[in-house]
């Protein structure tokens, strides 16, 4: 085969694979604009005959999915902000400040990465019940305050900050907190964007923990609300597709615009020591 034909075949294979990958998402969007019942006719249509926003109106006006959207937005933003603060402080301390037992403590933290989250879920529920945090936003939040992965990522990055910069500030009489706040934090910006995108997406997509901790429908996050709707509206294909679009669209947009940072995070996390 000549180089030219090989190139054509390879690019056709890529296009086919891309089409197959996107098909579920494209169909989701298409079906969300169909009339009720339209997707369940033979032969099933690929595009709506008369596009309508009826499913979206139904979701927001009658089923109050807007509330769940707001819950998700607020919780994911809060988790992102709080965990960025805690992880950047800890990651910087592990990278740049000297104290006894530092490396042993960090090694211990890394060890916890092998523990699957399911292991702590039941006692955490009981603990939060004792603290009166079950069925509260706080209960969802506590599980995301700090993550070992986040601390690890910041530490890797912070190690490249030159000691001279920090020492110069100390000579000028800056307090350690001031150094973190005005010198370290601005230098950490690139990794914090990466970690922020990462955290926001996982908080938005998280399902098991909000499902366990939230019992009141008004407090449901989008994935929990959607799973709940999916149980009640099995036959309403078009309505469920609209619900899926509303759930997926924000994260897909965040990813599209900030994907460089997100992929950076994945590759940084896969670097072996």
């Amino acid at each position: 085969m000549s180089r030219r034909w090989r190139a054509v075949a390879l690019n056709l294979a890529l296009a086919g694979a891309a089409l197959a990958t996107l098909a579920p998402l494209v169909w989701m969007v298409s079906a969300s604009f169909m009339q009720s019942g339209e997707a369940n006719t033979l032969p099933p249509p690929l595009v709506p005959a008369r596009p309508t926003l009826a499913q979206y109106t139904e979701l927001f006006a009658r089923l109050r999915l807007g509330r769940a959207f707001l819950n998700s937005l607020l919780l994911s933003s809060a988790i992102t902000a709080i965990s960025l603060l805690c992880n950047s402080m800890a990651g910087y301390a592990f990278a740049k400040l000297r104290f006894r037992g530092r490396d042993r403590l960090f090694g211990l933290l890394l060890l916890t990465l092998v523990v699957p989250p399911q292991v702590g879920v039941l006692p955490l529920f009981l603990e939060l019940r004792a603290l009166g945090l079950v069925n509260s936003y706080g209960g969802v939040l506590v599980a995301g305050i700090a993550t070992v992965f986040g601390i690890f990522l910041v530490r890797q990055f912070a190690q490249s900050i030159p000691d001279e910069v920090l020492d110069a500030a100390r000579v000028d009489g800056a307090s350690e907190w001031r150094i973190y706040r005005s010198i370290v934090l601005p230098l950490l910006r690139p990794i914090l964007v990466t970690l922020g995108v990462f955290t926001f997406l996982s908080a938005w997509n998280d399902f098991m923990w909000p499902l366990i901790v939230l019992t009141d429908q008004a407090k449901y996050t989008l994935p929990v609300a959607l799973a709940n709707l999916a149980g009640e509206h099995v036959q309403d294909t078009e309505l469920m597709m609209a619900g899926a679009v509303v759930t997926v669209l924000p994260v897909l947009l965040v990813f599209l615009f900030l994907q460089r940072y997100y992929l950076d995070g994945i590759l940084a996390g896969s670097v072996k020591e």
């Binding site: 390879l10 690019n11 294979a13 890529l14 694979a17 891309a18 990958t21 996107l22 579920p24 169909w27 989701m28 079906a31 997707a39 369940n40 032969p43 099933p44 603060l85 805690c86 992880n87 800890a90 910087y92 400040l97 000297r98 104290f99 916890t112 092998v114 699957p116 989250p117 399911q118 292991v119 702590g120 879920v121 039941l122 006692p123 009981l126 603990e127 506590v142 305050i145 700090a146 070992v148 020492d167 100390r170 350690e176 907190w177 973190y180 997509n205 098991m208 366990i212 994935p223 799973a227 999916a230 294909t237 469920m240 597709m241 899926a244 997926v248 990813f255 997100y262 992929l263 896969s270």
Partner: protein, 297 residues
Amino acid sequence: MRSVRGEARAAWGLLAPALAAIALFFALPVVGGLILSFTDFDLYAIADPGNARFVGLANYVGLLRDPLFWKALGNTLLLVGLGVPLSMGVALAGALLVNSPLARLRAVYRTIFFAPVVTTLVAAAVVWRYLYHPRFGLINRALEACGLPTVDWLGNPRWAMVAITLMAVWRAFGYSLVIFVAGLQAIPGSLYEAARLDGAGGWQIFTRITLPQLRGTMFFVAILTTVGFFQIFAEPYVMTRGGPLNATLSIALLMYQQGFRWWNMGRASAIAFVLFGLILTVSVAQALVRRRQEGGR
């Protein structure tokens, strides 16, 4: 001036919030979970923890005698055994295509293949439930168009777990693909040139250079994928609720049902630790295989 004691004090101050959160909301529950798994903590104990009794290994022994646990274990192993090789194979093939010098629009393809990874799991499961619809689903229509027999994907106990696995592969492979692409790009071009000068063909180059050079990346991706597939929960929860006939009951779903539907928290904790043990065993086994390969080279 730089004072060591001041520095240490500052360090602990900066570490305090993160360490406190991890200790309170992660370490404590994990230790608590281990203790819980040796008790008969149930609905009555939730009302009054005094009702819980220490039962030793009874929960673990009970699991071994529970057909439902073996069913869930079998389902999960099928999912891992089928899903991990499939996901890695698709990811590697995709990475080779994307990384080829003949490929156009590489960045676009990488984004497209990655899109399912960031797609909210619950939403994806909802969409796939309809794609798998025996009459109106796109997948059966496509099979029909190719002249193939259709399948009642989620309704037939023999196919339901396969259906869940395929959906999980769709969602997972993009992550591995991105890591594989980075791994491929790290292979020095001089190796390929030397092989070509020696007259090696495409397949020989793939098996003698690409694969051995990719070993470290493969190991990392294998562990990551295995751990992820072992923990599958939302897919069966949304698509099948574990049915039909418990054909898609995963270990994580069984744990959830025992713990939060029937409030058998002691038994559910035992299930969680069995899952932990399984993941640990498989990860260590993979690490041993890797060390052996390295030693043999």
